[in-house]
Symmetry: C2
Subunit: 422 residues, 2 copies
């Protein structure tokens, strides 16, 4: 058992920060939080105490949508919208991951960058390649970080160099699942790329795979209007894009992440609510590809679970703090364009999305309440805190102005995580 002393902020509920100035988090030997306290209870006075002085201690970031094999394209190629962007830039890059040497070089950097920006757990799209996908799981596991690795199924409207058969997709996913069986924080996730890339046979098989093995599912939903029109053509029997996943058992039948949801409304909205499907909000990506802005406030009001994603490389960086910033900004854009009808998000709400809400997909993750995994970041903001800001303002300034330089310690499931080697 260990106690950490620092200025502690976390969000048990979205509405406000729980703040403990010079407070304590006690962590058990299992890496879970025993409790967060304003002053250290007597019973813990004899345990080891780590004193972080005036630094800030918060839950670590969770990235619920990121494409590891797009690492090289980060920060380039943002002059097209989704569908031509995929064909021109993304598919050719992902095709390279059949080369395990190339995959290793890039995946090492990918894991290092997640770490660097304070993301301790991620739901990740890999590629169709089983060997590279298992390697990615290894790298996360060796680092001590958490994640779900998705071997991607895609068997139509995809280049020959980046297509698999139904059998390959199912076997590849099971291979990742078996490969990660002994890893404490890494597992597999069923990953149909998106409806346009998957034949009904692929969807049927992946849906069965998810349901038979109680595996979570991740995919893309209603990101872009051309994409939505295309899905309508490809799946005329589905009443909406989301229904095309539901029909195959991949829309909440097991825990499900759907990235984007920029245009989700009506029946799709209802389906997400009823089936408790996560909307993964990726505002930096949505701005870079000119996709649109998801109605996050409406999702939250309706009880649809929401998480945040970097969506690298359509998203232009790994920082979930930056995504928090964009979440706030884009909620204000929705607010001004919607004649102020729906309130924009507060900092605590966006922070909650990045921590406790997103973290819930991995279990009890993203808070310092008892029983939660101690996933945490220690922030030395002394360069930003030159004028006695309040604790909440200090965190706010870090979100808007900080970067990896202020992140001094990173914990995942109670263990301090050192920089992964590249």
């Amino acid at each position: 058992m260990k106690a950490y002393q620092a200025n502690i902020l976390f969000t048990p509920t979205p509405e406000r920060f729980e703040m403990l100035e010079h407070g304590y988090v006690v962590v058990g030997d299992d890496g879970n939080v025993v409790g967060a306290f304003a002053s250290l209870p007597d019973e813990y006075k004899s345990i080891e105490l780590v004193d972080y002085g005036n630094q800030i201690l918060i839950p670590a970031m969770n990235d619920l949508h990121v494409h590891a094999p797009q690492y090289r394209n980060l920060g380039i190629a943002m002059d097209m919208e989704l569908l031509p962007w995929l064909n021109t830039y993304t598919f050719p890059e992902e095709s390279k991951y059949r080369d395990i040497k190339y995959a290793e070089r890039m995946y090492r950097r990918f894991v290092r960058d997640l770490w660097k920006l304070g993301t301790m757990r991620a739901a990740i799209f890999a590629t169709i390649h089983p060997e590279a996908s298992c390697l990615l799981a290894d790298l996360l596991n060796e680092a001590g970080m958490g994640g779900l690795v998705g071997l991607v199924g895609m068997d139509r409207n995809s280049p020959e160099t980046l297509s698999n058969t139904v059998e390959e997709a199912v076997r590849g996913t099971l291979r990742v699942l078996n490969h990660t069986a002994s890893m404490p924080l890494v597992s597999a996730i069923v990953t149909p790329r998106f409806v346009p890339s998957c034949t009904p046979e692929m969807m049927t098989a992946l849906g069965r795979l998810a349901n038979d093995n109680h595996l979570p599912v991740q995919s893309h939903l209603s990101e872009n209007q051309s994409e939505i029109a295309w899905v309508k053509e490809l799946e005329p029997e589905s009443s909406c894009y989301g229904d095309a996943y539901r029909r195959y058992g991949m829309f909440g039948q097991t825990p499900t992440l759907m990235a984007h949801c920029c245009y989700t409304e009506g029946e799709e909205f209802e389906l997400m609510r009823k089936n408790h499907v996560f909307a993964v909000h990726c505002p930096t990506s949505n701005c870079n590809l000119g996709s649109g802005i998801a109605p996050i406030r409406r999702f939250m009001n309706a009880g649809i679970p929401v998480a945040l994603g970097s969506d690298v490389s359509a998203g232009s960086g790994f920082s979930i703090f930056r995504v928090i910033h964009y979440t706030l900004q884009m909620s204000k854009m929705k607010w001004v364009h919607g004649a102020h009808k729906e309130a924009f998000l507060s900092l605590s709400e966006a922070f909650w999305l990045a921590t406790k809400s997103g973290g819930s997909f991995f279990g009890k993750v993203g808070s310092f309440e008892p029983g939660y995994a101690f996933d945490a970041l220690v922030i030395d903001d002394s360069d930003l805190n030159f004028d006695n800001y309040t604790l909440q303002h200090r965190l706010e300034r870090y979100v808007y102005l900080g970067d990896d330089r202020q992140l001094k310690h990173r914990f995942c499931q109670g263990k301090e995580i050192q920089a992964p080697k590249i």
Copy 2:
């Protein structure tokens, strides 16, 4: 005379980058560019050569709208829209600048941060306080950086602690003008805060001051719909918000910067075009305050000059590179919401706005064409360039992923600028 060897990019026109891999910029003793060359002409073979190897050399950034006395509020207090934001957070902070010690402490940091993020020239709102405004000019001048310092006129709808009389505003501006008379790169700019803060007497006097002394003018325009409605009430004789400046001689009669212009259309649009009034685009600010998005493509198509501004502290950082990023993203948001009618901006266009277009307000600034001031940044992007990116992709990655760490040298008017002391 001196020559600089590096990978050179600049934008003589918005449509494309001029790129010289391992090229040369020759700079005269006056600090102006003699020429940029793919290989060094024989006549310059004997001059001193500075070899920046594989680094990138680009024109420095220009920030055409920034509030120096809002420095402390950077990264906090973004839970309100413009008018309540001014009253709650901004006016109380600016009132502190009557204390010259406080002003010095903050203005030193302000100048250092401009420098740090690669901005070599800025059009700056100061406060109503002449002493602090002159100090700000001194600090810029001592650093060797360029700028226009605006002593702010505001005599209505402002707190008592932050109001001046017409005479104080005129005298104060003249004091800054005289104080900067011998400074090579710093001067004064006439600065009515915005129409709601200025009585007709204030507007009349400042307009006269600008026209009599051929001084440039800066103010705010059509940022927010409540503000526009308020101006309509306050100035019923004006046909539009812009006309309220024009009537007092401050809408292009001398060189004029108008920040925001989110809702400029119709007659105001025409007035800006005819009078060559600059629209200063501040997209990070507009997102943070939920203001709206200016129609930059339409401005550019019509020949309305456009520059970029950080608008600290409604804008949440000093980086004009970040503003380039947002300019691209917000042009894509306009594009998707406008049914793809107007093309979104390209990287070279947004870069041109930040360099040559914005720089033109200071003279021949923002390009490496002959006769332009050598305002430049040297970028060591070796940590970002791990896979042989093209030169343009290297710059693009710097814009999206880089920060002050990659900026190795900064030049203003031919002189290398060292970190200003804080």
